[in-house]
Amino acid sequence: MLSNFGECEDRDFEELIRLLKLSRLSFDKGELEGLCNDIKNVRALLLRVSKYKDLRVDPLYNVWDKTLNPPDEVAERRVEISWLSDDRLKNNMVKVPWRGG
């Protein structure tokens, strides 16, 4: 028994902890019960899409398909160090704060 989280059962809470770790997020302890219930409720709404899971249709990941013209090529794209302000740079290189930069 992990704890009593309102309508959330232990497995819902374990799932929440797994998602928090994957997402690199944390919440205050006091918010976890509400969050667990919210996630459970929204998950139930989203689960309505599972009825399409076994249908023999191609997933549509974007609306290009054959309906609209295929997109053109992207122009060359570069990021220049000169775009950054001085406080983000050290010795003409990007500072990385947790490496002491």
Partner: protein
């Protein structure tokens, strides 16, 4: 003085009866009167810089040039990059971030002689339908300050509704310009996917969102669309098409317009919403428009879960970039993992974090087929139903199931909040254009109607929208 439409302002500027500088001063008068109550802007640009810009436009006019938006004042949603003003996307995570480049739409506005006055409030990262989920403050609806202006482009809509700008840019991922338009008696168009460049738009859900024009009349929206639309080599998802010419579309003979009203696009709406839309459709029918109620989009009731599954999955992926390395906001901790977790936990608001968690779930091992892939299959079915119908007629329906909610009424329960998008997400899933125009008022509150057409049929929507304005008399109304 408040001027009803941008077209009227432009006429004054081109005729010489109004100078851009005088017009900017008029706009500032409105802002000073309304902004403390409405709070539509996150950043108002320095008044002197704006007046300098007005003088620049004035000298262009003196040189005989006629840029299409000369001297018009434009408000820009705060998720559209501007190198001359902070771009926060309504989030603490981006506080202090000034992009090193302008979005393509911003560059096009400036080239067209527009005067950008400020960046407007929004739900954090465009995740919300009321503009209460901004990290800064909620925006109030100028028609009733106790109510929300809709979201997520609620700042842009509220500013238009009180006369703080002539035109505005929003972004629409699942109804984010159409809901605010409906709640504030303004006009919003979600263009065909790929018609307007997303380069410089802080991303939420790439396959669904479009930068979208907003104004107080259909003609003004058309004018703005003509400037910002067209292929952009910096955005691989823009169409191989030039800018639209919708502002010069001639009024359509009503008898050539055909509207279908699928019951799914109006079922479940509150009685005042339903009766206002049905009354409007009766009046359009009396003008000669063919209106059919014998229509159905059978998969539309699944649009909301399909939309949210896809949107949240894309959001989780997009928001992974906020780790304290690329943007100014960082919470330093002794090691890398703790720094990333603390930065994300303190930089994002509660709703954004909730959506990231659900998006990660939809994409994670063991769930992907059941959620994300299944939703993408559902999207194809919904898209095919919509395209099948728009080949025959323009689809009409409600924008929101209810009049503008009171502040605090919806945000405590995510399901109640998401339900506001039930009629608008369909156009984003299908990639088709959708126009929201004022349909009438109930108890002093604005109500809107939505029309969807086939891809690239924005001109047809503009023609119908102008007819709706003629019938309702609600062109250029202000709070």
């Amino acid at each position: 003085m408040r001027r009803a439409t941008a077209s009227a302002v432009l006429e004054g500027i081109f005729s010489g009866s109004l100078s851009p500088e005088e017009h900017v001063m008029e706009i500032y008068d409105n802002i000073k009167k309304w902004e403390p109550k409405v709070k539509g802007f996150i950043t108002l640009l320095d008044e002197e810089a704006v007046l300098r810009r007005a003088k620049e436009v004035e000298s262009l006019l003196k040189d005989g040039k006629r840029p299409p938006l000369a001297g018009l004042v434009v408000a820009v949603k705060d998720n559209i990059s501007t190198k001359f003003a902070p771009t926060t996307a309504g989030s603490r995570m981006l506080s202090g971030y000034v992009p090193p480049f302008n979005a393509t739409t911003v560059e096009r506005l400036l080239a067209a002689g527009a005067i950008i006055i400020g960046k407007t409030n929004m739900d954090e990262f465009a995740m919300g339908s009321t503009t209460e989920l901004s990290a800064f403050w909620p925006t109030h609806n100028p028609w009733d300050l106790e109510r929300v202006p809709g979201g997520s482009s609620g700042g842009s809509a509220a500013v238009l509704a009180y006369g703080g700008a002539d035109l505005a840019l929003g972004s629409d991922t699942g109804g984010s310009v159409r809901l605010p338009a409906a709640y504030t008696a303004t006009v919003g168009l979600k263009p065909t996917y790929g018609l307007v460049s997303r380069y410089g738009l802080i991303p939420y859900a790439n396959s669904l969102e479009q930068i979208s024009p907003m104004a107080r009349s259909v003609k003004d929206v058309a004018m703005l669309l003509d400037v910002v639309s067209g292929h952009d080599p910096f955005d691989a998802t823009t169409l191989n098409a030039g800018p639209t010419r919708t502002s010069s579309v001639a009024p359509e003979d009503p008898s050539k317009l055909s509207i279908c009203v699928p019951h799914e696009m109006i079922d479940g709406s509150d009685p005042p919403v339903r009766s206002t839309i049905l009354k409007l459709l009766d009046r359009l029918e009396a003008e000669g428009v063919k209106v059919s109620y014998d229509a159905s989009l059978p998969s539309a009731p699944d649009a909301l879960p399909v939309y949210y599954t896809i949107a949240l999955a894309e959001a989780a992926s997009n928001l992974a970039r906020y780790d304290g390395k690329l943007y100014p906001f960082v919470v330093l901790r002794p090691n890398y993992t703790e720094t990333v977790t603390s930065t994300r936990s303190e930089g994002f608001g509660r709703e954004v974090k909730r959506r990231i968690l659900l998006g990660v779930m939809a994409l994670s091992e063991g769930y992907r087929d059941e959620f994300y892939v299944a939703a993408a299959k559902g999207r194809r079915i919904i898209r095919d139903e919509v395209l099948g119908m728009t080949k025959k007629c323009i689809i009409a329906g409600a924008v929101s199931p209810a009049p503008p909610p009171r502040l605090g009424e919806r945000i405590s329960d995510p399901l109640k909040l998401y339900a506001l998008d039930v009629y608008t997400v369909i156009a984003n899933l299908a990639g088709v254009p959708s126009l929201a125009v004022p349909a009438g008022f109930y108890d002093g509150l604005p109500l809107g109607v939505q029309f969807m057409a086939s891809p690239l049929e924005e001109g047809k929507l503009m023609a119908l929208g102008q007819l709706v304005e003629d019938v309702t008399g609600l062109r250029g109304v202000m709070a």
